[in-house]
Symmetry: D3
Subunit: 308 residues, 6 copies
C-alpha cells in the first residue's frame, strides 16, 4: 500500500465507527459517576465467599479456634465493602436518567441488601454442606469430602448458584446472572439463579447441564452431565415478544436421578424417586417411581468399511 | 534415595529429552526473528474489538458524543498495531525456510490484511446487532439487550466467530482458529471460523454446540446447547489421509430451531422453518416446515431399587 | 438503616460464622507448616511440562540443536522443584495429625516420586506424539500437526490426562485430580486420571466428554463431543456408602469410533472396530465390528405454528 | 517453645495492639465511603501527565498529526476521572466528621479544581519546554533534548514539582506533597510544592537537593546535587509549636549558579548572576554578581599511614 | 556476521562463564531446600508492619473499635508466617554444610525469634509515636501528624530502622541489613540497624543521611539531609583486614540539632543541646551547648564571565 | 459548574494540547515499526546480568556443577535476545528518517554489538570480583562477601556502571545512560558510563556520589557518600552551546580515599595515596600522598536559645 494511505483509511473507519447511527443500538450510556459491574471484582467476591463458607480450603484463613474469628471478621467486612459496590452498580445499570437523590437511595438500598445477604451466609453454608455430603456419597471415586470441596466443579457451580439465588431473591438485578455465568464458563454448568433447588443436590461431571429459570428441583436430586431442564416454545405477546415470567421449566421431585444428556422440556413434573435414562427426550410428565429409557438402539449391521 | 543420585538421574532424563530423535516429531522450529502467535495478545485483541464494537460495555470508553471519537481512534490504532503483528506471526508460522525478502512481503501482506479487516468492522457491528436482537427476543429470561451484550456467552462466542470468519476470508492462517478456540474454552461453543452463518443467529446456553467447517446456516436460526452440525465419516485419499476441503457438514435454512443435544451429520439439508427436537440423531435431509422428534422413550416399569 | 446498626449486624454474622458447630463439617485443618496444593502452581507445572514435551511451541525455549539442552535442563530442574512441593502437599492433604518424622518421610517420598515421574517423560512424549498424529489424520480441517499441537483442546486435555495418569500410578493423591479438572474447565473434556487409554487416542471438539475412572480404552480410538463412558447405578455397602474400587465403566476395544452425545454406561465391552452412532444410550456389550445407531426419529408432521 | 504456647502469645499481642490507648495517637479514622489518597493511582496520574505533556516519549501515544488528538483526548479524559477522585480523597483526608452535604460539596469542588488544573496544562508544557532547553544547554554530556526528556532525573523531578505546585495553588491539600515525595524517592530531589520557581530552571545530577516551602527562585537558575535552600531555626508560638507560614527560605535571583553541597539557609537573598561555590554554608544575603567560595582547605601534611 | 557464527560464539561464552574458576569467588551455594531471603517478601513484611503499627493509613484495615481486632489479628498472624520464614532464610544464609538436625533447630529458633519480635511491637509503636510527634513539631510546613505518618520519608526510614534494630538485637543476621537498605533506596537515608537511637528522633528531608553501626543518639535529636555520623580510618588486624566490632562512630547527646551536610566522624561526643552548622567537618568532641559553624566563606570577587 | 460545561472545557484543552505549535518542541516522532527503548526491559536485562555474573544470589539459578551450564546457557541466550532489541532501539532513537535498508543495517549492527558485549562478560565478572573484595575489606560492618554482593548498594551501582561502560565503549547510544540512571534512582549513586574506573573500586553508603563523564579513577580507590567528581564552568562555542567532549572532570590516582561530601571539580589530578577529608571544596591538583582537610570550624559560642 502506498505511504500515507494507511492513516487515511484508518481515519475513515474511525469516522464511520464514531457516527451515532453506527453504534447507537449496541452502546451503553451511563453516568460517569456510576460504576459498571465488574467481572473481575465479582470474581474476587465469589472467591471471598468460598473462603468464608469453607474455611481452610481457599485463601489463607487459619482455622485454629483461637483465630478463625479474625479471618471471618476481615473477610466478611471486606465482602461487605466489595459486594455493596457491585450491588449498587447492578442497581444503576439501567439508570442513566437517575437524579442525585435517586442514586443516593439506590446506594442505601445496596447497603441494606448487602447486609441481608450476609445474614443469610450461615444458612447458605448449611445448605452447601448437604450438597457436599450428597456429592461424596454419590461418587465412588471420591476419596473424602475434602476432595469434593477442593476439586469438584459441581460444588463450585452449586456454590455460585446458591449465592446468585440469594441475591436474586433480595431483588438484585444483573449481578446474579454474572455470577452464574462465571460458573457456567468455568464448569460448563448453567443454572439460572431464579431456579429453586432443594438440599442434598448433586451434579456429576456437569459439563452441558442447563437448569432453566423457572425450574423447581426437590431434595436429594442427582443429575449428570448434559442434562437439560428447559423450556419448549413459549408464547409471544401481540408484538411478537416472548411473554416474560411464565412457568415454563420442569418440576423435579425428591430423590430423582437424571442420566447424561437427557433433555426434559416444559412445565412437566418428574415424579419422586424416578430415574430418567440418558439421551431421553422428555416433554410430558411422568409419575413417581418411573424408570424412563430411550427406545432401544438399532444394531444396523456389521462394519463394511463405509462408516455411517 | 542416596545423596547425589538425584542430580545424576535428572541429568540422564535431560540428555534423553534433548536427543533429536526424541523431540523431532513434536517440536516447532522457527526463525528467532519471527514471532510466534500469542494467545495472550489475541485475547487483548478480542477484548479491544468488543470495546470498539459495543461502546460503553467493556473497557473504559466514554460514549459521550463529544468524545467517542477519541476512544474509537485510540482503540482502532492500537488494534491495527497488535493485530498486524499477530497476523504476521500467523503468516510466518510455517515459514522456517523463508528468506529476508519473503519475510518482508509477508509483513506488507499482514499490514494490508489488517487494514481490510478493520474496514469490515462497521459491517461486523451491524451483523452482531442482529444477533443481539435475536437473542433478546428469543429468551423470555432476558431483561434487556444490554444484559444480552454484557452477559450472554452466545454473544461472546458469535462475536469471536464473526471476527475469526472475517480474518479467515482474508486468508489469515491459524489466527482464526485460535480466536474460535478461545470462545470454545470460555463458552463451550465451538464454531469453526470457516462456517457461513446468516444474520439474526442465536444460540441458547450453548455448552457443547459444535458447528463444523463447511456448515451453512441461514438467517433467523436458533440452536440450543449440545447441538452438533458435524460430519459423517469422510473419504480418505490413496495414502489413507482424509481428503481436505470436501463439503461435509449440514446446510440449515432460514428460521430453523434445533433443540438441545441434537446431532445432525453430513452434507444434508434442513429445510426452512423446521424444528428439530432434542437428542435426535439426523443424517438425512428433511423438507421445509418439518417437525422431527426422537422416537418416544420406553417407560420400562417402576423403580424396584435396582437402578438402571 | 440506622447509624451503627450495620456494624452490629455484621458482628453478629461474624460470630455465628465463627462458632465451631457452624463450620466444622466444611472446614479443612492442616499444619501451619504443611502447604496446601496450589492450583496456580499446578498450572505453571502443566505449562512447563508442555514446554518440555513440545519444544518450540510454548514458553520461550530455543530449539537449536546447540542449545536445546540448556532449556530442557533448566525446565526439568525447575519442574523437579515445583512438582516435588506439590506432590508433598498432596501427600499431606489429609495428615493433620502427622508427626515430624512422618512429615519428613513424606517429603522423601515426594522427591522419589517426582524423580520417577520425570523419568517417564520420554515415554509420555512418545505416546502424545501418537495422539497428535491421530488427531491430524482424523480431522480434514487440520492443516498440520503444528496446528494440532498449538491449538487443539483435545491435545491439551489428553496431555493433562497422560500426566495425571502417570502421577496417579505413582501413588500421588489429589494432585492428578486437580490436573484433570484444570483440563476439564478449559476444554469441557473430563477424563478421570485412573482411566487406562491406549496410543493414537483422539477426541474431536470434545466439550462434554466424560471418561470414568475404571474405563479401559484401546488403541486408535476416536470419540466425539458429549460422549460419556460412565457408570450405571453402583452398589452400596451396609452403611449406604458407595463401594469404592469396583470396575463400573466400559471397555472400548481398538479402532472404535463413538459419535457425539452417545452415552455408554456400565462394565460393558464395545468390540473392536465398532461404530457407535450419536445420541445412543448403550448399557449392554456389543460384539466387534458392530454399527449401533439410535432408533430412527419420528417425523411428527409439518409446522403449524405451535412449536413443540 | 511448647505446643500451643505460640497461639496464646500471639493472641496476647493482638489484644494489646487492639486496645484503643495503644493505637489512638497513630491511627487514622475516616468514613468507609471516603477514599484514602492512593500512591499507586497518583503514580499512574503522573505517568499520564508525562505522556500528555511529552507526546511520543512515554506510554503508547502516536504523534502523527492525524491521530494525536485521539490520544490527547483519551488521556485527558482519563486524567480527569483519576485526578478528580484523588483530589476528592485529598479534600476528605481530614473530614471524618463531614456530613453528606459537605461531602457532596467537596466532590463538586474536586471536579472544578480538576478542570482548572487541566486548563493549566498547556502553560505547564510551555514552562517545562524551557527547563528542557536549559538542561540541554547546561550539560556538555547531553546528546539531544530527546535524551534529556527521556532520561534526566531533573526533568522528572521538575515535572512533578510543576504539577504539584499548580495543584497546591488551586487549594488541593496533601496530594501535592505526595507527588513531590514520589519524585524525591525516585531522584533524591526534594522540592516543596509551595516553592516558586521561574522558567529555564535546571538541576544537575540532583541527589540531595532540597528546596524549602517559601523559597523563591528566579529565571535561568542552575543548581547542583546536594544544594539546600533551607530554613534556619524558626520561631515558636506560646505553646512551643512552630509558627506556620512565615517566609523562612532563600530568594535566589535570575541567572544564579549554585554548586554541589552548598547549604543556603534563611530568608536571605542571593543576588542575580552570582555563583555560589560548593560546600559553602551561607546564612546571609550576597549582592548581585558575587562569587562565593569555601575558605581554602588545609593541606595538613603528607600521608604517614595513619589516615585521618 | 556469518550465519551460524553467533550460536558458536554464544556457546563459547557460556562455556567460559560455566567454568568453576570463573564463578567460584562470586557464587553462592545453598541447600536446594533452604530458602534465600527475598526482598519482595521483606517488602511485604514491612508494609504489613506499617499497617499494624499505624492503623488506617496503609492497607485496608478498618479502625472501628468493633472490628480493629480482626485486622490486627489477621495481620499479626500473617506477619508471623512470613517473617518466620525470612528469619529462617537469614539464619540459613551461610549454612550450606548444615545437617538436617541443625536446620531443624534453626527453624525452631526462627519461630521463637519471630514471636519475641512480635511481642516488641507495642513498644515499637510507642517509640514511633514520639518520632511522629517530633517530626510534626519540628516542621512548620507539616499540616498534621496524619500528613507526617502518611507522607514523610523520615518516618518511613525510622520505622524500618526501629524494626531492623529490634531484629538485630534478637540475633537475626542479614535481614535487618536488607530492611535498612530498602529504606535507604526509597528515602536516601542510611541508618545502620546496629545504631542506638533514643525517642523523639527526627530527620528533615533526609537524602544522604548516614548513621553508622556504632553510633549512639540520645533523645530529641534532629538531623538534616546529608549529615554523616561516620567512622574515621579504622585499625587493621595482622592480615590487613579491618578489625570488627570496635566503637568508631559518634555519640550524639540529647537535644542536639545537626544541619545539612555536616560530616561528623569518629568515636567523638557531641554534647547535649549543641547545634552543629551545615557543611561542617567535625572529628573532635564538642562540649554541651556548643554552636559549631563552618569557617566563613570567601567572597572571591564579582563575576567577570569566567565562572569558577 | 453547569451541566455540559465540563465536556466543553475538556474539549477546548484537548484541542489546544493537540495543536502542533503546542507540542512540537517536546514531542518525539519515530517509525511505528521502530521500538522505543524500554526501562522495564532494561531492568530485566540488568537483573539477568546480575544473575549471570553472581550465580546463586539472584533469580533461581542452580549452582551445582552438573547443572550450572543449563542456567548460564538459558540466561545468556535470553540476554542476547532482549539486549539485541534494546540496542537496536537505542540505535534507532533518532532515526525517524531512516529508510528500510538503513534500519536493516542497524539491526545487524545491534546483533554484532550484543555478541561483543556478551563476550566481555567474563572480564566484567573478574573486575566486579575485585570490587566485591574491596568493599568487604573496606567495611568493618560487613560480615561476608556474600552479604556485600547480596545487599550493598555500591555493588549494585558499580555493576550497572561496568555494564553501561562496556556498552558505551561498543558505541551504543542512550542505553548506557538509562542503565546508569536506574542505579542512580535506586542507590543515589550517579556514575556517568563514560567515566574510566580501575579495579578494586569501592563506594561506602554512596547516596549523592557523582562521577562525571570524563573522570579517570585508578585502582584501589574508595569514596564516600556525597562525593562529587565534577566539572567547573565549561567553555561555550560561538552559538553559546557547551562544547562537547572536552576533558573536564578530575583524575584520581591509585589508592586515594575521599571522605563524605567532598566536592572535587575540574580537570585536576589527585595524586596517588592521598586522603581528601569530608566537605572539602577542591578545584586544584594535589600531589601524591597529600592529606587535605576543611579549614577548621568556628566554635561560635554556646547556645543561648537563639539557634543559628
Amino acid at each position: 500500500m502506498r505511504y500515507m494511505e494507511y492513516p487515511r483509511r484508518l481515519k475513515d473507519v474511525i469516522e464511520e465507527l464514531s457516527r451515532e447511527e453506527s453504534y447507537q443500538s449496541v452502546c451503553h450510556r451511563h453516568h460517569p459517576d456510576q460504576p459498571m459491574p465488574s467481572s473481575r471484582v465479582l470474581g474476587e467476591i465469589v472467591d471471598l465467599l468460598r473462603e468464608i463458607i469453607f474455611p481452610g480450603y481457599f485463601g489463607e484463613s487459619s482455622t485454629r479456634a483461637e483465630s478463625i474469628r479474625y479471618y471471618q471478621g476481615v473477610n466478611v467486612e471486606k465482602l461487605y465493602e466489595l459486594l455493596r459496590q457491585q450491588i449498587y452498580a447492578g442497581l444503576c445499570f439501567d439508570c442513566k436518567m437517575a437524579n442525585q437523590k435517586d442514586l443516593w437511595m439506590r446506594k442505601e438500598k445496596a447497603a441494606e441488601i448487602t447486609l441481608k445477604f450476609i445474614e443469610k451466609l450461615p444458612q447458605i453454608r448449611r445448605l452447601l454442606a448437604t450438597d457436599v455430603e450428597a456429592a461424596y456419597l454419590g461418587d465412588p471415586a471420591a476419596q473424602s469430602t475434602a476432595e469434593v470441596i477442593f476439586c469438584y466443579p459441581a460444588i463450585r457451580a452449586i456454590t455460585n448458584y446458591r449465592i446468585a439465588h440469594a441475591l436474586l431473591e433480595l431483588g438484585v438485578p444483573l449481578i446474579p446472572r454474572i455470577i452464574s455465568e462465571m460458573a457456567h464458563s468455568e464448569t460448563g454448568i448453567d443454572i439460572h439463579p431464579r431456579a429453586r433447588i432443594g438440599h442434598h443436590f448433586t451434579i456429576d461431571h456437569g459439563t452441558g447441564v442447563v437448569i432453566g429459570a423457572t425450574s423447581i428441583i426437590g431434595n436429594h436430586v442427582k443429575i449428570y452431565q448434559g442434562v437439560t431442564l428447559g423450556a419448549k416454545s413459549f408464547p409471544l405477546d401481540e408484538n411478537g415478544n416472548p411473554i416474560k415470567g411464565i412457568d415454563r421449566h420442569p418440576i423435579v421431585e425428591d430423590n430423582v436421578i437424571i442420566y447424561a444428556q437427557a433433555t426434559i422440556l416444559g412445565r412437566i413434573r418428574v415424579g419422586a424417586n424416578s430415574i430418567i435414562g440418558g439421551n431421553v427426550w422428555l416433554t410430558t410428565s411422568v409419575p413417581p417411581n418411573s424408570k424412563i429409557l430411550q427406545e432401544k438402539y438399532r444394531h444396523s449391521g456389521f462394519m463394511d468399511g463405509d462408516g455411517i
